[in-house]
């Protein structure tokens, strides 16, 4: 018999390596590779010479940079807070539904909007937000919003983008957190109940701490997506015939640099800034959420 094992280990790639290999290939091709190219572009001139931090100082000095950062920051705060609070609450509520049919129906309902691809759901919202065609025009009217331009006033945009993002993205997180709640051993919940804990106390003292990793995971991915805000303002800009500028978010500004000003180096500098910010925040969430701690 041919020996394929030695000291209990197989020769050749472990199944685990095989499983992640596909991901690694895509990560290198579409993540690390482009990031390295952006890093190269960010520190060079368009002729390929060393530019130092010129591209960064140029983009910082751009009159559109700080407003764009402000817009994205306002959106992120609104979105991440509402996402965390509402998704956790809804997941706990769905989990506490005893009726199996009702539970599945609710999960399915939450998940449906997520099945629509990003751009198409924004298009759907453009109709919802235009008082002249909106099925909820009475609601908009209650806030004294009679025209589309009033709805998309600059001050309303972070809230609008939050609502759109929540509607499209929250459903799948509710399902993920519901799954996470299912991993909490039944005995733990039972023990809490035996000790006289109410449903609220159980949620706050037992379930929430055990969900910490999942919430951190959700925040990291949502933050990465949120800092790259692009499709929503871009489509709203087109729908409003330019009343919302095409320079609303940092990512849009990077797009303008590359494809309107033909300045790929400035665009790369903006991308690097976004990358640094996202990685720093992700590191914070990983540390605070103890994402990689082994129980």
């Amino acid at each position: 018999m041919r020996s394929v094992t030695s000291g209990g280990r197989r020769f050749g790639p472990a199944p685990g390596h095989l499983f992640v290999s596909g991901y690694v290939v895509l990560l290198v091709a579409f993540g690390i590779g482009p990031a390295l190219y952006a890093l190269y572009l960010a520190f060079t001139t368009n002729m390929g010479y060393w530019a130092g931090i010129d591209n960064f100082t140029k983009t910082f000095a751009d009159f559109r940079f700080l407003p764009a950062v402000g817009h994205v920051a306002a959106y992120l705060v609104l979105w991440l807070v509402s996402l965390t609070v509402l998704v956790v609450t809804l997941a706990l509520v769905v989990h506490s539904v005893r009726n199996r049919v009702a539970g599945s129906a609710l999960r399915f309902l939450y998940y449906i909007p997520g099945a629509l691809a990003g751009a198409s759901s924004v298009l759907l919202w453009l109709f919802v937000l235009d008082p002249s065609v909106s099925p909820v025009a009475w609601l908009l009217s209650a806030f004294d919003l009679q025209t589309f331009n009033q709805v998309i006033a600059p001050g309303n945009l972070p809230l609008i983008f939050t609502v759109i993002a929540f509607w499209t993205g929250a459903g799948s997180w509710i399902v993920v957190l519901y799954g996470a709640l299912n991993t909490i051993p039944h005995e733990v919940i039972e023990a809490a109940r035996m000790d006289g804990a109410s449903a609220l106390t159980t949620a706050l003292r037992v379930q929430l701490p055990m969900l910490r990793k999942w919430i951190a995971y959700m925040l990291i991915l949502s933050l990465a997506g949120g800092t790259q805000l692009f499709v929503e303002p871009q489509l709203v800009s087109q729908a409003s015939f330019g009343v919302v500028g095409t320079d609303y978010s940092v990512n849009q500004l990077a797009y303008l640099y590359a494809f309107n000003q033909n300045d790929f180096n400035g665009s790369a500098a903006l991308s690097i800034i976004l990358l640094i910010f996202s990685v720093a925040c992700a590191a914070l969430f990983v540390a605070r959420g103890r994402l990689f701690d082994v129980d």
């Binding site: 331009n149 006033a153 409003s240 330019g242 009343v243 500028g245 494809f259």
Partner: protein, 447 residues
Amino acid sequence: MSPKKVFIALAALLTISACGQPVGNGKTTDDAGANSPYGFTTAAQKDGELLVWVDSTRLDAAKAYQAAHPDAKLDIVTYDGNANGSNTLKTKVQLFDKAKAGWPDVAFTTDNNTAAWASQPSSGFTAPLNKGYLDQATLDGFAKGALDPCTVDGTVYCLRNDLAHVVLWYNKKLLDQFGYTVPATWEEYTALGARVAAEHPGYIIGTAGDAWAPEVYMWGSECPANQVTGAKAITVKATDAKCARAASMLDTLIANKTMSTLSLFGADFAKTQGDKVLMLPGPNWYGGAVFQGTIKTPAGEIGVAPALKWADQPAPVTGNVGGGAWWVSSHSEHLDAAKDFVTWVTTNDAYQAELAPGYPAYSAAAVKWLAKQQASGYWAGDIGAPITAAAGAVWPGWGAPEFSPESVWAKTVIPGMTAGKTVTSLLPDWQKAIEQEAQVFGYTVTK
């Protein structure tokens, strides 16, 4: 020489020859490449489909060409036509410039900002048309000044599809019914607005909710907000008295609700104000696009009056709202087919006189277009004379820079107006926004 040295020498040679290779194809014959008689370096010519980019309105032009040329191989792609400062064409072309492939052979745009960037050596997307590619006779057939937005330093880069000079549209039936006469000056127009507000509230005499409002009101007022004085130089005086008078007029009319702030092509306008349009200063293409298209005014009601003038102007000067143009890619591998296509769609009566929604830039077609419009029986009275007169009255002091002044207005002034601020109070913001936008594109700004 050791093999290693040979290798290094070869590598060095290759690098040098790669750097020295001319842009375009390396193969040069007598009538191709850098020696082409067209005045630009041409690509190797091949058979194949002609890739044509049009907006949805000009899809008819491409279809008409296909119908007239059943053997022509066309790949027609519709896009937003670069409208409202969307910069779609620029975005895509810069991507194609990077990839060195993918350019459309022929593109239609609705804006006047394409020549400023696409003719620059950094892109070189647009082919010069008057350096041997098109016949001078064809170019001479366009109306005087029609090719100005296409021209940079004497080189023509596009063929204008239509002219978009502003006239005064009015509903003759309603004016007669209310007993009003058509105003000749902006002052009379403003005064009539006050009467309409008092006597027939709800009716409107203009709209200012679109990105091109400054092209109708500011340009026509000789407002010096957008004077392009050189390839990279612009003079911006948006708070000048001539801008202020137009702004103040808009404020008065918006306040008495005779000036709508809705977008003409938004869903609201047709629904709420479509049948309340008494007058509408706007480009000649409003006739087809707005009255016959969006708001569907019944036949026999709409007339055209000469462009309005300010009392101190000896004769009217008008603005220009778009007026599309056709561009040929200098990278095209089907230059003969492209030439035939752009010449046909801009000059042939089968499209320009029969189907085109706007006043043709090609003079011979314009005469027939007007005759056909007149014969349609839709219009109340003679529309030919005022439209023809206004065609030559576009004020040349409003330039076509690399960025879109419409989009600057849209994102600076319109949100302010929506929030209830006056246009007059927003002029300094507009000034600042134009300056900043110009500086982003490397313009030297004179205030």
